[in-house]
């Protein structure tokens, strides 16, 4: 009896049918993590506490929704008493005195946080190569990147070490690694999940979400992650639905928007073919394809690379060596304390974005860059509002291609930034979006992106679940298809 590659639903059943004890589940998780440690998916493990919690559950069984389910937490969420690094040297020694609301919500639902997953430093990156703790490897090929920034999370779930993980998505950091690792992940509407305790990259774009094997598990996780939180004024107080409610609704007559403005010619032929096959699959389930226009879509990458660095340049100012985190040893005065701590503490990509952000906010440039980017953002939002009057979802490929080789985009940040071409607009507009596996190219998985209307996670989960009922791309693992 193994939990490897099992979904949350399956592990829940195994526990409740007494096929496996809580302790055995957790012990197997740690032996799998150990076996696959060359994936470098985890930065910090929480083994002792996890085993203890599992033992308690064996003694006092619980009917909480996630009781005993092992979850890997992205190392960007503060976890009380458990080191939280955000993938950075500057937080190498940081042990938070409090937990993020997401962590509390999940743990209150009974889950066991088995460890903290590796990630691009401060979530800035699309390949997990910027982590201070070394790059994560994709279980589909040891020379491949897992995507980023939630690369550790995607790698751990794809390798079957845990059934689900938390991720965060600022420009595609859940969806892109989900696509490259062949798993399902969703970024909900901005404000659905509290940002309290999430170490901020770009506050107006950051949103947490689940990464799992199936859309159904994602919905299940989302039910526990979302809450209105008074500690986060950007957290929405709209009613939170049961995200599993509509999973099986018929797609007959539902409308899928196909973005005319998207130039697919630059994509790998296989990506286009896989994408079109998926659309045919949806048509066969009764859905209709509708051409839509998002005229400002092409501006989303430049707008994003102004707004996100601007916010990050300010958000990361608190890492100054004064109060917490690392402090350079040999600073002679205050100026040196700042310069040396931040020079030694941050990696190149983080420094690059702080520089870009400081530049676009500086006197004389604010109007030309930051203000302009916010105006573009408004236009992109309006574009989406218009099209969603007539359609249910929008579909695009999640990424331009499957996982690329570690080091292959090393010197060209622009190439790396274009990785997020399809995903960024959902963050700029605050819309829910997900990625689910829809094909393989040379035994490397690739994903389909479904973008939904504001607060309408249920519809995209419905489309994704129906697709997973009809196809088995989500059942593929690096070791072949699971039954």
């Amino acid at each position: 009896m193994t939990i490897k590659y099992k979904s949350i639903k399956e592990i829940k059943n195994m526990i409740s049918n007494k096929e496996i004890s809580n302790k055995e589940v957790i012990q197997e998780v740690f032996s799998l993590i150990n076996e696959f440690q060359d994936l470098n998916a985890f930065i910090t493990l929480n083994e002792e506490n996890s085993i203890k919690k599992a033992e308690e559950l064996d003694n006092n069984p619980s009917d909480l929704p996630l009781a005993g389910i092992p979850i890997a937490q992205k190392d960007l969420f503060c976890t009380k008493g458990l080191r939280t690094t955000c993938g950075s040297n500057i937080l190498n020694n940081f042990i938070p005195p409090y937990s993020a609301t997401v962590i509390e919500n999940l743990e209150n639902a009974g889950c066991i946080s088995v460890g903290k997953t590796n990630m691009d430093e401060f979530a800035m990156g699309s390949s997990n190569e910027t982590s201070f703790f070394g790059n994560v490897k994709n279980p589909w090929g040891k020379n491949l990147v897992p995507g980023g920034s939630s690369g550790g999370a995607a790698s751990a779930v794809a390798a079957g070490l845990v059934p689900a993980a938390t991720g965060t998505d600022t420009g595609g950091s859940i969806r892109q690694p989900a696509s490259l690792c062949g798993i399902t992940g969703i970024k909900p509407t901005y404000g659905r999940v509290s940002r309290w305790g999430m170490i901020a990259f770009a506050s107006s774009l950051d949103q947490a979400g689940p990464m799992a094997r199936t859309a159904e598990d994602c919905a299940f996780m989302l039910n526990e992650m979302c809450s209105h939180d008074e500690k986060d004024t950007t957290s929405l107080d709209n009613e939170i639905p049961d995200f599993q409610e509509n999973l099986n609704s018929s797609l007959k007559g539902r409308k899928i928007g196909i973005v005319k403005d998207l130039d697919l010619s630059s994509l790998n032929d296989d990506v286009v073919e896989i994408y079109q096959n998926s659309l045919k699959e949806f048509e066969s389930m009764g859905a209709e394809l509708v051409d839509i226009s998002l005229p400002h879509l092409s501006l989303s990458v430049p707008a994003y690379y102004v707004v996100a660095p601007a916010e990050c340049s300010s958000n990361l100012s608190r890492f100054d060596g004064v109060k917490f985190g690392m402090r350079s040893e040999d600073a002679k005065d205050l100026e040196e304390l700042y310069v040396k701590t931040r020079s030694e503490g941050f990696g190149d990509e983080v420094k690059r974005r702080i520089l870009i952000g400081s530049y676009v906010l500086s006197a004389g440039y604010y109007d030309a860059y930051y203000k302009k980017a916010q105006q573009v953002r408004r236009l992109i939002k309006n574009d989406f509002e218009n099209v969603f009057k007539n359609i249910d979802v929008i579909m695009t490929p999640t990424t331009r291609g499957p996982a690329f080789k570690i080091g292959s985009k090393g010197d060209d940040p622009i190439q790396m930034y274009l990785e997020d071409l399809f995903t960024i607009s959902a963050n700029l507009a605050g819309l829910p979006a997900m990625s689910l596996p829809n094909g393989n190219i040379e035994n490397k998985p690739i994903g389909l992106q479904i973008i939904g209307n504001f607060l309408d996670e249920n519809t995209i989960l419905n489309f994704a679940h129906m697709f997973q009922n009809e196809t088995n791309w989500h059942m593929y693992t690096p070791e072949g298809i699971i039954q």
Binding site: P97, I199, S204, E230, T233, R318, V322, K323, L361, Y366
Partner: protein, 475 residues
């Protein structure tokens, strides 16, 4: 050559809210270092600010009292700079949409009055304190103050002298204390100010280059710093040099200002809208409630004291000039109907004691409650006016309770007429010569008999009763 001075003030007023502007941390002054600091005040990774509505309500009171526009939608921006006592590396402030805009306040200087326009008043968080003198070769940081709500009140550059600047600061202080939005305590830093000073030739339209004087926290220093700065600028220009736009620090020990940083060295604060905070919206209902509950302001009090209570104009002005004085008057008014009596004490004896000690009424040992008791004991005849003066002096020194002083020193006035009559008879018997002289028409000697009785009773005899008894016995 004659010169005109142009001054603008930025006054930082610490709002007296229970908790900080963006956290539940306490704002109490004087606690042990770093004990009133929560996760948010520390700027820990992952924390988020939540705006304190109470601070908005207090800011709105100020806006309403100065006839300003209240922006019912106001927003927060980040002002980015590095300093050890600024935990997040940025200060959250209101740059683009302040809560209050375009008000004005009246000031009185010597023999004239003037209206000073207020450009804006915005909310922002205070920084912590860097402590340079406690650890050898190291700087300590105390974050207790970090996040305390400040209302920054920015005047138009319409102030023309150091005296006017002081009058303006005093007017703002009087107003914020009456509004109950700040304790006005300058020594604890509840009010601090930055002063922009420039000079120009009389009649010139264009403003001169200004210097900003930082962080001055007493009336005396405002006046001195400005006067020093005006002299410095005039000398420079008259020597053919030019003024550099810069920030200068006032050194109260040397009475001089010196350069802190020039415009070139100034921070680029990279202001941008704070993405963690949504704009704060004040509803019509909230605004109406604040309006209806606005406390009575000094001018309104003055008019009421004159028209309804019948005080003299000068009395009304003095009593309504400070919140503490007005509170004393109102507390005592609940003990007696004799408003003139209360006014006489406040304007007379108490003002004299204040002048003697050169202090403000809120710095004295006299509480409104104790003053009320003093007036009550005078008007119910427990003590005479003369005894009351000695009681007041004791309160002034020791802050003891009025009733306790009266009891412990046995100062209760002798009212009993039979006792007083016995004493009077004794006095008459032992002074036969004076009695004859009085009866022969030397009326002035009446005071001699009163004095003798007072001497016998250590001043505790009720003077009115003594008069009547003596008149009767000496007939």
């Amino acid at each position: 050559m004659s010169w005109e001075t142009v001054i603008g003030l930025e006054i930082h007023v610490q709002l007296s809210t229970k908790s900080k502007l963006f956290s539940g941390g306490s704002t109490e002054f004087g606690a042990e270092s770093n004990t009133h600091v929560d996760l948010i005040d520390m700027g820990l990774p992952g924390v988020l600010p939540v705006a304190n509505k109470e601070a908005f309500y207090k800011a709105i009171r100020f806006g309403l009292a100065t006839g300003a526009n209240i922006n019912q939608t106001s927003s927060f921006d980040r002002k980015n700079y590095f300093y050890p006592d600024l935990p997040k590396g940025y200060q959250i402030t209101q740059m683009a949409q302040p809560i209050v805009e375009k008000g004005s306040i009246k000031i009185a200087v010597d023999d004239y009055e003037k209206e000073i326009n207020i450009t804006r008043a915005h909310l922002e968080e205070d920084a912590g304190k860097s402590i340079h003198d406690m650890f050898e070769g190291e700087t300590g940081v105390d974050l207790n103050r970090a996040g305390t709500p400040l209302l920054e009140i920015v005047s138009e550059p319409e102030i023309s002298s150091a005296k006017e600047a002081v009058a303006y600061f005093k007017a703002i202080r009087q107003l914020v204390t009456f509004l109950d939005i700040c304790d006005g305590n300058m020594a604890q830093g509840s009010m601090r100010c930055d002063v922009n000073v420039s000079i120009k030739k009389s009649g010139d339209k264009e403003l001169g280059t200004r210097a900003e004087l930082k962080n001055i926290n007493s009336f005396k220093f405002i006046e001195k710093a400005i006067n020093f700065e005006i002299d410095r600028q005039i000398k420079l220009i008259e020597n053919g040099e030019s003024i550099v736009q810069e920030t200068r620090l006032y050194d109260s020990e040397k009475n001089e200002t010196r350069s802190m940083r020039s415009k070139e060295e100034a921070n680029d604060y990279r202001y941008f809208p704070c993405p963690d905070l949504l704009p704060v919206i004040i509803s019509d209902k909230e605004l109406k409630e604040i309006k209806e509950n606005l406390p009575e302001l000094p001018e309104e009090k003055e008019i009421r004291y004159i028209n309804e209570i019948g005080l003299d104009e000068s009395e009304a002005k003095i009593i309504s000039s400070s919140k503490t004085m007005a509170n004393m008057f109102e507390e005592a008014s609940s003990k007696t109907d004799d408003a003139k009596l209360i006014a006489k004490w406040l304007v007379g004896d108490i003002s004299a004691l204040l002048n003697k000690d050169n202090i403000d009424i809120d710095e004295s040992n006299l509480s409104a409650e104790n003053f009320g008791k003093l007036i009550e004991r005078i008007s119910d005849g427990t003590i005479s006016g003369k005894i009351a003066k000695s009681v007041l002096e004791e309160v002034w020194e020791t802050a003891s309770d009025v009733d306790e002083i009266i009891q412990s020193k046995g100062l209760v006035q002798i009212q009993d007429e039979s006792i007083l009559e016995d004493i009077a008879k004794k006095v008459i018997e032992s002074n036969p010569d004076q009695v004859s002289a009085y009866k022969a028409g030397k009326d002035k000697l009446f005071g001699f008999f009163v004095g003798q009785i007072m001497k016998e009773t250590q001043g505790k005899a009720n003077p009115k009763a003594v008069n009547e008894i003596l008149k009767d016995l000496l007939k």
